[in-house]
Symmetry: C2
DNA sequence: CGAAACTTTGATCTCTGTCAAGATTAGTGG
DNA sequence: CCACTAATCTTGACAGAGATCAAAGTTTCG
């Protein structure tokens, strides 16, 4: 589960950059491993390195002084963990389970990107996708009931896994209830209750480390919404 | 109030692009005017044009099928209304009061940007800023009480106006209560009540078309938060 | 001046959060 | 392999912030 040995530079480039660009990117990439719960970087730090995810799942989050936490995204292989040209990290990142990343020295990566129109274009497209994702999440947080939030989260997560080739009938949920709660602006008890309610309604089946989506697409909760 | 005659291409470029790039950008820019409430583009449309804001305030929002609305941002002069290289608009935009925009033919703008490292860089930086703003907003929507949301919204809005040179002691609020509510994931009644409560606490003064921020920085609501 | 749009204020209800207790799972060492 | 402990998850009872419904006040603009 998530053991697919993606390699970040290739995954990020897709078919869109030259062999030279890819090999330059690979030359800069230092493979690093993090264990479950380990912090990869923290909000506010100067971004000496950039990170691209090769294997595993990472949660990106902001902490408020009073201890509240907002998970801003879960990252899958092939994505940068943060915008590579930003001077500082706008959020913290830690590993959910074991994780492989490619670490890039920021200045060198910056030079490489700025010297390559292809890479710049890829980065702009990446940023555009991430922005749209964040805006969709805004819409969900601002408008959704607990049930909508959980249901839409599950469908979105399943869709992302499907795209990233880690396609399996039971959808793995490697993150904790608390992570989901902090992502959706809910409390973990509410997430738990809502999952139970959705199972009651026969739209999902709860499994040990995942979930089975049965009638979720048809459920009015997620129809016609562009989250 | 917001009558400053900014010109989008110059504002966007700042000092960071050559005279040639700026003149090319200006050559492509068609000045267009929209009156209050008019729609500039709608979510899902193919993006034939890109828009940069020269004067006024624009609200960017997503509509759900059941009529609920999420305002994802208010735009000030110098910003693109959407990511210029995206194929489709991920949200709708309409004018709050009178607005001047520069309209660019998408294909030509795309070619210009892709041919200019400076512009690409500016675009990446723009996207990075917008992403961080969206993530901060996520954090606010996910964690904030009504009072925090309103207070932080006011401070952020004031700070943005200050940066964009439209600096005035009474902070103008050109948007409607409903817009603020849809931005913060609240109901307009709650916004109204909360503003009254903040005035009660002597941290703001409500004015006809704006607000005066008095003790808001010191109020514990907004201390030490990185929204 | 008068109608329409917007804002404020009030009374009540509901959903989610809070607090608390159990149940289940995972991890550890004998 | 099993006992034991800690972590995670589920479930229940209650409370409170914000939503909803309703009405009155204010501003805007023809």
């Amino acid at each position: 589960m998530f053991r697919t040995p993606t390699f970040f530079p290739s995954a990020f480039c897709g078919g869109s950059c030259t062999r030279h660009e890819l090999s330059e990117l690979t030359r800069l990439a230092a493979p690093v491993r993090f264990g479950g719960g380990q912090t990869i970087f923290s909000e506010g730090e100067r971004a000496e390195s950039s990170f691209g995810l090769s294997r595993g799942v990472v949660r990106l989050y902001k902490l408020l002084p009073d201890g509240r936490r907002q998970v801003v995204a879960f990252t899958l292989p092939g994505d940068f963990l943060a915008m590579p040209l930003a001077n500082r990290f706008n959020f913290s990142a830690d590993a959910i389970g074991d994780v492989n990343v490619s670490r890039f020295p920021r200045e060198k990566l910056k030079r490489l990107i700025l010297s390559s129109p292809n890479l710049q274009r890829l980065l702009i497209d990446f940023a555009t996708r991430e922005m749209h994702t964040a805006q969709n999440q805004l819409s969900l947080l601002g408008n959704g009931s607990a049930e909508e939030k959980v249901a839409i989260f599950l469908v979105n997560w399943r869709n992302r896994l499907a795209r990233s080739a880690t396609n399996s009938q039971p959808v793995p949920l490697p993150m904790r209830r608390q992570d989901i709660a902090d992502f959706l602006g809910l409390k973990l008890e509410t997430v738990s209750r809502t999952l139970a309610k959705l199972e009651e309604k026969d739209v999902i089946r709860l499994l040990p480390k995942g979930v089975l989506l049965t009638g979720l697409e048809r459920a009015s909760l997620v129809t016609g919404r562009s989250y």
